[in-house]
Every structure is written in C-alpha cells, then in structure tokens.
C-alpha cells in the first residue's frame, strides 16, 4: 500500500501548527558575541555587543535604521571584520574559521542579492554548486526549494521580471540550498506587502518549528519581532539597551497605557506629565510628539477616570483619550526614548512591492 507524500507546501502549513521548539539553556550557543565593536572612522556603528543565541531560537534584533543591526549581521556572517571583540557562529570563530561559518549559515541580507539576468532556477543551481552540493542532488533540491517559495511556475523567467516579493522569496530560498542550521535574515520583510510578509513569516516559523533552524533576524517592525521572536534585543546607537522574551519585555512596562493628547506647547505637556505621574497606580508617564502623553498603569480602566479628573483639576485641555494594552512599541520607547519609525509603507499595511 502506498501513501501519498504531502507536498512541501502542505507540510509547511502543518509546520505552523507544530509547537515551538524547546531551547536547551545549557546547549552550546549557536551564536555568541563578546564586546563586538565596529567603527567606521569616527562613526561608531556598533559599540560593544554581547549576545548568546541558543540553538533552535528565533532571535530578533529590533532597532531603527542606523542602530547597528545590519553591521552586526555583516560581522557575524564574516562579511565585515570587527574593530574589536570576538564572536563564534555555529561553534566557529569569525576570524579563524570564516569559511566553516559560511558553510554552516544561510544569509538573506536587507536588499535581496540577486542577479537579474539569471532565471530563478539558474540562480539556485549556481548557488547549489558553490555550496558543493553533489551534482545528482542539485536539480531535485532546486525544484524542492522553488516549490517551497511558490516560484515553480516562474522558475525559468529572468529574475529581473520578478516582483519585489518574489525576489525576496527567491533570496530566502537561495539561503536554504545547503540546509543551514543557522539563518541570518536582515530585515526580511522590509518593503514587502502584507501578503508577502506573511509568507516570509510562515517560512521562518516552519523552518524553526519543523527543522529546528536557528534564526537571527533584524527588524524594525514591532509586530514582526513580537510574532516571530523567542528573544528580542533592542538596539539603539550600536548598543543593546534591553533584552528578553517578548513577554518579559512587555512586563517591564505596565499592562496598560493611556494615551491622551494635551493641547499646548512642550512646557504644558511636561506639566501634564508631572500631574499624571502623581496618580496612584500610575507607574510612569512620558510625552512624545506623535502619541502625546502616555500614562503607564497596571489597571487602565481604574486609572482612566483619575486621568480625566487630574487634567480637569489642573485646567489642562485635552482630547483623544485612549486606553491600550502595552506593546513592544512602548517597551522600545521606554528603552530608547523614541518611537520606532520604519521607513517604508509595510508597517502601515500599505502595499509595497507586490507578491
């Protein structure tokens, strides 16, 4: 009796239902770095990063443009020599064993690095050859990967004709040809439309849950970090300013946030902050230009009325009172002093490149 083998796509969907892998805290780290520094002349891009990523983790670097995310990735993937510090990836030293590291990792950098004159199939075939995959396995491997990223029908078209989403998927497939145990993704969904973003997230979760692949990904999207990552490091000005699981990070701020737009200039905003921080149950209050005054509290419903009363008592006119659950955005703001502002439309759900 023969049983029909499910397709990769079916298994991919099955994988999303699989439980997240348990990470052995005592296992040798997949990636570790100590005091990693990179200076470009007077520009201090990375200022002493220490990190430890366990096998099977999805580790996220969350930060704005210019915070040092990509520079760190380039150092860990042997593309850039650190100014100082040490790091090991897949057990290999980044200085002494760079070629062994490249054998062990897959990398998709911020801009999909593709040759637009080749077809998708040719690119994966060349990539397979450069990874020294046995000749008799190359065609089946290429077909498998094209199926995984839903590019089988477009495999023999030139990459220059692919949409942004298709190019990103092909780039991801090219990082998988040699079945790496660790994959670095530098802003994998920047510039993608929501459908393509979801597809990339599905691939990442599948590879992590089903195949136990360790991911090191950088992102400037809070929802992406929250959804995918087991552990997040918030990066600001080349330094890790906060690190933990998404829940741990959120626990560092209060459960609820009350946002209120107080009318007036900055001294008035500061007066409002000083007033509201006096309210019992309020753990912190702050002001920024976009969100107005944010009041952090364990119990938003209870505090809401007190916020209104306090502002009235102080004769501070206000509008747009809003209660929300604390998010990573609040964590980021508390850690860095500014809100994250991704530089492309994907964050707002507007279509960027089409799939």
């Amino acid at each position: 009796m023969s049983t029909q083998t499910p397709s990769i796509s079916e298994r991919l969907l099955d994988g999303l239902a699989a439980p997240a892998p348990q990470h052995d805290r005592d296992a040798a780290p997949a990636i570790e770095a100590h005091g990693l520094v990179k200076h470009f002349g007077d520009i201090h891009a990375v200022n002493g990063i220490d990190l430890r990523v366990r096998p099977g983790q999805i580790f996220g670097f969350l930060g704005q443009n210019g915070s040092g995310k990509s520079t760190t990735v380039r150092m860990l993937t042997t593309l850039l020599r650190p100014t100082s510090g040490s790091a090991r990836v897949a057990g290999h030293d980044i200085y002494a064993d760079d070629r062994e590291i490249r054998r062990s990792i897959g990398v998709a950098l911020q801009d999909a690095g593709l040759d637009i004159l080749q077809t998708g199939r040719e690119l994966l075939r060349l990539q397979s050859r450069l990874y020294n995959i046995p000749r008799d396995q190359i065609e089946s491997r290429v077909a498998e990967l094209l199926d995984v990223v839903d590019l089988t029908e477009d495999a023999d078209r030139r990459i220059g004709g692919y949409s942004g989403g298709m190019q990103r998927r092909l780039d991801l497939a090219s990082a998988l040809v040699h079945s790496p145990s660790i994959i670095f993704l530098d802003e994998p969904t920047t510039g993608l439309d929501p459908v393509s973003r979801q597809a990339v997230w599905d691939y990442v979760q599948h590879l992590n849950r089903v195949d136990g692949v360790t991911f090191f990904l950088t992102t400037q999207y809070l929802d992406e970090a929250d959804l995918l990552c087991d552990e997040i490091a918030i990066l600001d000005a080349g330094e890790i300013v906060q690190q933990g699981t998404p829940d741990e990070l959120k626990a560092t701020v209060s459960n609820d946030v009350i946002y209120v737009q107080v009318e007036g200039d900055e001294p008035i905003q500061q007066r409002a902050v000083n007033t509201l921080i006096q309210i019992p149950n309020v753990e912190d209050a702050s002001w920024d230009f976009n969100e107005g005054v944010a009041v952090y509290t364990k119990n938003g419903h209870e505090t809401l009325a007190r916020v209104v009363r306090s502002l009235d008592d102080e004769s501070l006119p206000f509008s747009n009172l809003r209660l929300a659950r604390a998010t990573l955005d609040d964590v980021f703001f508390r850690a860095t002093g500014h809100r994250i502002e991704p530089g492309d439309p994907a964050q707002s759900g507007q279509p960027g490149a089409s799939a």
């Binding site: 020599r81 054998r103 040759d115 450069l130």
Partner: protein, 295 residues
C-alpha cells in the same frame, strides 16, 4: 524530505582539494558571466562595431599611402591585430562594470557569503573574459579575411592569434576587476577601457616602429602591447615570427638606441603576455583582498 534535510553535503574532510575546488567554482562563475553576455547582445554589439569601424576607416584613409609612406603593402593586414586587441579590451573591460553592478545589487555579497574561494570570483571573471575575447577575435579575423587581409601563417596562425587574444582578454580583465574592487563605482570601471588607448597609441598601431621618433619608440619598447600586437602581425603578414630568431630581441638596446628596425619575434608576445598578466592579476588579487577584508 524536509527543507532542512535535503542535500547530503560532503563533509569538510572530503571536500575537493584546494585548487581543484577553486577551479570548479571559477568554472561555474565563468558560465554565469558568459550567460550574462549572451543575454545582453546589445551591449556586446558595441564591442564588435567600434573596432570594425576603426578598421574600416583607418584602412580607407591610409591604405593607399602606407606602401609609399612606410613600406606596408597590405595595410588591412597591418591593422587587423589592432582591431582584435581593441575588441578584446572593450569586451574585457565590461567585467569591471559587471562586478560593480553585482555589488550594487547585493549579489557580490551573496557570492562572498558562499564557501566558494574568493579567488574563484576573480578567476571566474578572467576565464569568461578569455572565452569572450576568443569570440570577438574570431569575428574580427573573419571580417578582415573577407575584406582581403589574408593570413600568412594560415589556419595555424589564426589559431595562435586567437590564443593570444584569449590570454590578452583574461589579462586585461584584471584591470577592470582592480578598478571595480577599489572604487565600487561603475563610471570608474567603465574608464578601464579608456586606459587601453594610451597603451594602443604608444604602440606601433598605425605605423611601424621604425618610423617613430626616438622618445615614442622608447615608450613603445616598454609597452607590452607592442609585442603582443607585433606577434599577431607576424602571423598575419610574415608567417611564424618566432622562427626568425634574429628578430627575437627587444627593439631597443641597453644604450637606449634602436638596435634593429625589424619587429620583435612572436615569442616576445608570449613573454609580454606573461608579464602583463602577472601585473594585472596581482593588482586584481590585492584589490579583492583589500575589499573582502573590509577593515
């Protein structure tokens, strides 16, 4: 088969030994570079049209005078090596631009992220340029033969010319690779072809060395293109120059004065190619090392 489980990679211990692996990787990359050319025929047409145009107009302008002026009976044959070298230099310069485009598109980083030897990135380009050089030289030869240049050394001579063209193409690509690695700038890489013109004009491209002023003759004597060009010319006009051993000495003596008016022998073409290749490959390799160290 899972996405992670798929290929059975050879262990590090069983990887092919160093140089064989480098050559295998270089072959794959050369194949990609040649595909790149085939898919941009419009770009390559320039490398055919311009040398043919110069061959036609220079022959048209000078052929009627060349015999009386400086003793060259068949000026088309005299000019054929110039057209070959021009076509080859034009085609090989494109490598620098292609590398810069790879850098701009992020594909160069993708290649650097594979375990392939970084030397394979250079060797692959050089290999492809050598193949392309043979292709363009073949077109120049066919065009000139049809126009009546003749080939004194026959089919064997034509094959030797193609070998010289291939070696020169590979060597010249080192200049474009060097500029691309050092600057990462497409305009600068494009200037790699312009560097060919001083080398061409300071060689006996349009008239024999014998009628040059001493200062230009001295420069031409240290210019490797002189020997490469004259070697090919030997085959087109005089049969195998390397058999004429008395011609096998440099055209200028230790005292800085000409020691002979005859052109150098064919073997000096290969000596010059070896020296020129050593120079261009060294600067290309040093530039690659500087870029990939990225300190």
């Amino acid at each position: 088969m899972s996405v992670r489980e798929a290929p059975q990679l050879p262990s590090s211990a069983s990887q092919e030994a160093g140089i064989l692996r480098v050559l295998a990787d270089a072959r794959f990359l050369a194949g990609r570079a040649i595909r790149e050319s085939l898919r941009q025929p419009g770009v390559e047409v320039t490398n055919i049209f311009i040398p043919l145009f110069f061959l036609a107009v220079s022959t048209g302008a000078i052929a009627n005078f060349s015999d009386r002026g400086f003793g060259v009976e068949n000026y088309l044959a005299f000019q054929l090596p110039v057209a070959v070298l021009q076509a080859v230099a034009g085609s090989s310069s494109a490598s620098g631009i292609a590398i810069v485009l790879d850098m701009e598109r992020g594909y160069f980083d993708k290649l650097l992220l594979t375990p392939a030897s970084r030397w394979a990135l250079i060797i692959g380009r050089v290999w492809a340029d050598a193949v392309r050089a043979v292709f363009f030289a073949t077109i120049m030869l066919i065009a000139a033969l049809i126009a009546g240049s003749g080939m004194a050394a026959g089919v064997g001579g034509a094959i030797v010319i193609l070998i010289i063209a291939g070696l020169f193409g590979g060597a010249y690509s080192g200049i474009g690779i060097f500029i691309a690695m050092r600057t990462g700038n497409a305009q600068a890489a494009q200037a790699g072809f312009l560097l060919f013109f001083p080398l061409l004009f300071m060689a006996p491209a349009f008239a024999p060395l014998a009628i040059f002023d001493d200062w230009l003759r001295w420069i031409a004597t240290v210019n490797p293109v002189t020997y490469i060009m004259e070697g090919m010319r030997q085959l087109v006009i005089h049969d195998y120059g390397w058999l004429v051993l008395e011609n096998g000495i440099p055209v200028i003596g230790a005292d800085g004065r000409p020691v002979q008016d005859d052109p150098p022998g064919l073997h000096w073409a290969f000596v010059s190619l070896a020296g020129f290749s050593a120079f261009t490959m060294t600067i290309a390799a040093l530039a690659l090392r500087a870029r990939t160290r990225a300190d």
